[in-house]
């Protein structure tokens, strides 16, 4: 056994003084650090941020108004697009394409600027991406918390209902709900709640009912997840202790249960965002989406798909941005899952 000399001890003491105190890291900052190291997630976050900025600044950055139709420039196309798509021959060269370089990406069949419509369309997609999950989380949280915390017959009843709704064909349900909202809600007498909601929806360009429709179609997964989490969390000592101390149920749920189950919920909902964006695009595609002339990428793709043989730019440009946004949310969701659940790190 070696003995330590006075010199060694001094050295150790000095070393200890020099080394900085280790700052403790909270779970959130730890997760954030992991997220910021994930290159794919950062790219996703940047694309999402750009989208939010574009959505906010659309009136500033868009070169034209989104509903500025012009009969003289229907299906107008700039020169560079005709060079990218060899099938599109300009009229000057014996083709059918009307050249107009003041439209950077071209114009649609009503002569509206595609670029401006794409920029404004970001508003719809990004709002759906943010509010869609919120609506389904709120419904899922209420059902899941009640079922998980109450247990017994209520739990059984609610979960069987969730099972049944899972067996409801999703797209049919959302079509039925949307037609009911779009056509039914305005028929209620003025002054009633439903009428007020339909007025709000009209003021929002048809977005409100999209949120409600998506929320009502997609809450079941969140409800199941929350219930399962609540069942495991409520058995923990701190919850039992809180109960023993006489803390009211609402407070136990808000202060002790909720913070512990919110992580997995955020992860799954972020991973679900692309499907919410796709729902909105689908609804606009079949004509149950936002009220025209408000541009939505899904609606633009639907219009463009009709003329894809002659004017591929009208479908492909909105398709490209929609794809980019969904891609970004997928990356972000994957990164968030890895960051919040370190046990998965080795595997992913």
């Amino acid at each position: 056994m070696t003995t330590l000399s006075a010199q060694d001890l001094k050295g150790i003491a000095q070393n200890q003084q020099q080394s900085k105190p280790i700052r403790s890291r909270s779970l959130t900052s730890d997760a954030f650090r992991r997220l910021s190291r994930n290159r794919a997630a950062v790219i996703g976050a940047v694309i999402v941020t750009v989208n939010i900025l574009v959505a906010l600044l659309a009136p500033v950055v868009a070169p034209k108004a989104f509903d500025d139709a012009s009969l003289t420039s229907t299906n107008a196309t700039p020169t560079w697009v005709t060079q990218v798509f060899p099938g599109m021959k300009p009229r000057e060269e014996g083709g059918y394409v009307k050249i107009n370089n003041s439209y950077l990406l071209g114009a649609d069949k009503l002569g509206r600027d595609l670029l401006s419509r794409i920029l404004y369309g970001a508003r719809i997609s990004i709002t759906v991406a943010i509010v869609g999950p919120l609506v389904s989380v709120v419904i899922g949280l209420i059902v899941g918390l009640v079922a998980g915390y109450q247990g017994g017959r209520i739990d059984n009843l609610l979960m069987r209902f969730v099972d049944i709704m899972f067996a409801f064909p999703t797209y049919l349900l959302i079509i039925l709900l949307m037609s009911f909202f779009r056509l039914g809600a305005s028929q209620f007498e003025p002054g009633s709640l439903v009428y007020a909601v339909s007025q709000m929806d009209a003021a929002m360009g048809g977005l409100l009912f999209i949120f409600i429709g998506i929320g009502l179609t997609a809450w079941m997964g969140a409800a199941r997840l929350v219930r399962g989490q609540v069942l495991s969390v409520r058995e923990n000592e701190y919850v039992v202790a809180a109960y023993a101390l006489g803390v009211p149920t609402a407070r136990i749920i808000l202060r002790h249960v909720l913070p512990n189950i919110i992580g997995p919920l955020i992860v799954t909902e972020t991973l679900n965002i692309p499907s919410y964006i796709a729902y909105e695009a689908f609804l606009s595609f079949i004509g149950l989406g936002v009220n025209p002339p408000t541009p939505s990428w899904g609606g633009m793709i639907a219009d463009g798909a009709l003329v894809i043989q002659n004017y591929p730019n009208q479908a492909l440009f909105p398709a490209l941005v929609l794809f980019l946004l969904m891609f970004a949310f997928n990356f972000l969701g994957d990164g968030l899952r890895d960051a919040l659940d370190p046990t998965l790190r080795g595997r992913e």
């Binding site: 049944i164 797209y171 039914g184 692309p274 695009a281 689908f282 793709i301 043989q309 492909l316 891609f327």
Partner: protein
């Protein structure tokens, strides 16, 4: 096991009953009816039409009549009339009486397409959707599962990154994008495949891929994650320790267990694919079930709405039941009773 299956079948009927009730309530809550046209029909004619289709009866009677017509089998004798109200999906001739026939499942006539019944749609349009859906499912499985397995086995290699990068791309492309892009690329530009239509097997390739790509990307990601999780388990180490060749370890031990989450997703997926998809069938001009999902609701064609919802829901509950039974085979530790 038998008890479990019986219970599941009873549950299936309950689910379908509740779904039919919700659908019925929702579709009647949408204002307007099948005969409210932009050009208004005279009131007497509307009344006659409503009386013919028994739409003047109270709602609960209409619902019960509908349920009776599809659930209660009847036996008829003699020549069957061609009347559209008496058109049954299943007709079995019985060995006694004067042309005695057991008839079951009358989903009713279409209100908007004169001379056709919901059963006609099931007979003519459903097989088209099922053919396309089955092909799309084949694409999903043949690309998704092997890609996921390779990625898992060569984890963190270049192959893995490439495959998973492609999978994220695939998951991010909804069909409303992929369908027009494929159509433009392979139909319009390269002219390799027909742009749209139905009948020639060549016309099925593009729509099947449009449907299959996103699904196979999802399956690839799931397969990889599930397989990696299983590969860490003790019994895999045991299998390796007792000297089994790696191939056998993966195919017999790891894959069987790792299939559970994949089967869970494949079940509903196959149900959705087989019952038709609106977007792909519209873009590629395929005469499948998909268009009825939308046109029946916009036209208030009540029997078709009920028929398509119940059909899709039936496929979905059957698929989920099959999945539950498959669990028992895949993982004997799972018991249902």
């Amino acid at each position: 096991m038998v008890k479990f299956i019986v219970r599941r079948i009873l549950w299936m009927f309950l689910v379908l009953f509740v779904i039919s009730l919700i659908t019925f309530a929702l579709m009647h809550a949408v204002p307007g009816g099948p005969f409210t046209e932009e050009k208004r029909l005279p009131a007497e004619i509307q009344a006659r039409l409503k009386a013919k289709y028994k739409l003047d009866a109270p709602l609960h009677i209409q619902y019960l009549t509908f349920i009776r017509d599809i659930t209660v089998p009847i036996v008829t004798t003699g020549e069957q009339s061609n009347y559209l109200d008496h058109e049954y999906l299943i007709n079995i001739s019985l060995p006694f009486g004067d042309q005695a026939t057991l008839r079951w499942m009358n989903f009713g006539p279409s209100y908007r397409t004169f001379g056709r019944t919901v059963n006609d749609i099931f007979r003519d349009n459903l097989p088209v959707s099922m053919k396309l859906g089955a092909t799309a499912f084949l694409v999903t499985v043949t690309f998704g599962i092997p890609l996921g397995i390779i990625s898992a086995l060569r984890r963190n290699s270049l192959t893995d990154y490439a495959a998973m990068g492609a999978a994220v791309l695939g998951v991010s492309v909804p069909v409303i994008i992929l369908a027009p892009v494929l159509q433009y690329l392979f139909g319009v530009q390269l002219k390799w495949l027909p742009v749209s239509g139905w009948g020639d097997p060549k016309q099925m390739i593009l729509p099947a891929f449009a449907l299959g790509v996103a699904n196979s990307a999802l399956i690839a990601r799931l397969t990889r994650a599930s397989l990696l999780q299983v590969m860490n388990q003790d019994y895999i180490r045991t299998a390796r320790a007792k000297g089994l060749p790696e191939r056998k370890v993966i195919v017999v031990h790891a894959l069987k267990n790792g299939l559970i989450p994949i089967v869970t997703v494949l079940g509903p997926m196959v149900a959705y694919l087989l019952t038709g998809t609106f977007v792909v069938e519209t873009i590629f001009g395929i005469p499948g079930m998909g268009k009825f999902f939308v046109t029946s609701v916009s036209g208030r064609d009540y029997p078709i709405i009920m028929g398509t919802v119940l059909l899709a829901a039936t496929f979905l509950v059957i698929a989920n039941t099959v999945v539950d039974i498959a669990y028992i085979w895949l993982d004997p530790r799972i018991r249902h009773d």
